[in-house]
């Protein structure tokens, strides 16, 4: 009995002293961040605990004292806002990836993606919520550049974040949707239309060290790991443009 109690106490102590960093991750980066966290733990012996959500949603949580130490956003504006509002460290902001928007479908042929979009013979097109998800805002920008926004407005369904948007398309409930290129790796190229860059401004995704993590060595280690060649390789493998 004593032995058991000792084990329990020791185990809980162990958990408390274990080096951990809490990272808020924009949903588009889910898969890449998991991989980064895995390699990070292998190399540094430190665990990165990841929480996913839309950029806006995570920001709201940060303003309400969420226990996040590093924030990987899907835009530049939100980390800047975090700094202005006093939650992030001014000099810590940097771009960790540049994202690409793609149009994706499990049923349609996107050999000529723009034409499919213009014809508009589909029922529902999924985008992420433009007011909280930068990829959703980019999707709106693309439709505007093509002068299709009024035409497609009635067909738009919104995912709560880019992961849910992808799932709407994946389950076939929407025939097509604007998602992140990192979500369609290894898909049939015909099912993906890589939206040409002039149609939207590049999605520069910034990271910021939050005040809660400023004293945590693990958080500092994670930030510098994010800038390492290893990470950039992972970022690029997941369909982003890395920024050395």
């Amino acid at each position: 009995m004593w032995y058991l109690a000792a084990v329990v106490v020791l185990a809980s102590c162990g958990r408390q002293t274990e080096q951990v960093v809490h990272v808020a991750v924009a949903a588009n980066c889910t898969e890449a961040a998991k991989e980064i966290a895995r390699i990070f733990e292998q190399q540094e012996g430190t665990r990165a605990v990841l929480s996913f959500g839309s950029t806006g949603q995570l920001f709201t949580q940060i303003t309400q004292d969420a226990p996040f130490e590093v924030f990987l956003a899907a835009d530049q504006e939100t980390p800047r806002k975090a700094v202005t509002a006093g939650f992030g460290l001014t000099d810590s902001v940097f771009t960790y990836a540049v994202g690409k928007v793609v149009l994706f479908s499990t049923t349609l042929d996107f050999t000529n993606g723009e034409a499919v979009l213009r014809e508009g013979t589909f029922e529902k097109i999924a985008i992420a919520n433009p007011s909280t998800a930068p990829y959703g805002a980019a999707a709106m920008e693309i439709m505007k550049s093509l002068a299709l926004n009024a035409h497609l407005a009635r067909k738009i369904v919104q995912g709560n974040n880019i992961t849910q948007t992808f799932q709407f398309v994946e389950t076939g409930n929407a025939e097509l949707g604007f998602v992140a290129s990192s979500q369609v790796l290894g898909r049939d190229p015909k099912s993906v239309w890589i939206v040409p860059q002039p149609l939207y401004s590049p999605i520069r995704q910034d990271a910021v060290l939050l005040k809660k993590g400023s004293e945590n060595k693990a958080a500092l280690a994670f930030i510098s790991f994010l800038k390492s060649p290893d990470t950039i390789k992972i970022i690029e493998r997941y369909g982003y443009v890395g920024t050395p």
Binding site: E123, K124, N129, T132, T171, G172, N173, A174
Partner: protein, 227 residues
């Protein structure tokens, strides 16, 4: 009070969804509750348990299955085919279907309790007066079960107004079609538009208070003469 177009449409949509859901639920739940109250079949409690499941299940479970069921590969997609559509997800009808499952226990339970509380006696008396079962049901059981029916209707309505998780998963956030109040509030909070969120949330607080209080008072008043 300032009500922008978007807020107004969310309120209208929510009230419409709750009203239609309540009507559908009363039509389904009344015979079901009657059967649950009167049947002697041993497996009826299994059916009652299935009806009660949404009380315990996370809305995400219901939302997940509904998403698949309403989609092009599920029965919902098959039904949607008759209207020339692919999926019932992201439609008002889809929300009604989801809400009916989600709120059903809140309607079935009070009605069943009311039917059970009547007991055998009044029904036997009606039978000796040569009322057929149909007559007995309408002129004896239904009037006696009125408090349960009203409670069930109010709770079903209120619970549908308060629905969130299921709608988040199958709604697609379409203004005027699937963007109900709870989703609009969530949206405002997530995009840091807190003044709008405050207005709607305070409204919901008042509404919920009024609903629960009126159910309690109603039950008291309706029960008194019988006691």
């Amino acid at each position: 009070m300032f009500v922008s177009g978007e807020v107004g449409s969310a309120i209208r949509l929510t009230l419409l969804l709750a009203s239609i859901t309540t009507i559908v639920l009363l039509l389904i739940s009344t015979p079901l509750a009657w059967w649950l109250a009167r049947s002697r079949r041993p497996w009826k409690e299994a059916i009652a348990t299935v009806v009660a499941l949404p009380l315990v299940l996370p809305p995400t479970v219901l939302g997940f299955y509904l998403l698949l069921a309403l989609g092009p590969n599920g029965p919902g997609g098959w039904v949607a085919g008759f209207f020339g559509r692919r999926s019932l997800a992201f439609t008002f009808i889809g929300l009604v279907i989801g809400s009916v499952f989600y709120s059903m226990p809140f309607v079935v339970q009070p009605i069943r309790n009311a039917f059970e509380a009547i007991g055998e006696r009044p029904l036997e008396v009606a039978a000796t007066l040569r009322a057929n079962p149909w007559d007995t049901f309408w002129s004896v059981a239904m009037p006696l079960a009125r408090p349960g029916l009203i409670t069930g209707a109010v709770l079903g309505f209120a619970h549908t107004v308060g629905e969130f998780g299921v709608v988040l998963m199958i709604g697609g956030n379409i203004p005027g079609q699937t963007k109900v109040l709870s989703i609009a509030i969530y949206d405002y909070v997530e995009s840091s538009e807190w003044s709008q969120a405050h207005i709607l949330s305070a409204g919901m607080l008042v509404f919920s208070f009024a609903v629960i209080l009126s159910v309690t008072l109603l039950e008291k008043r309706l029960r008194r003469p019988a006691a």
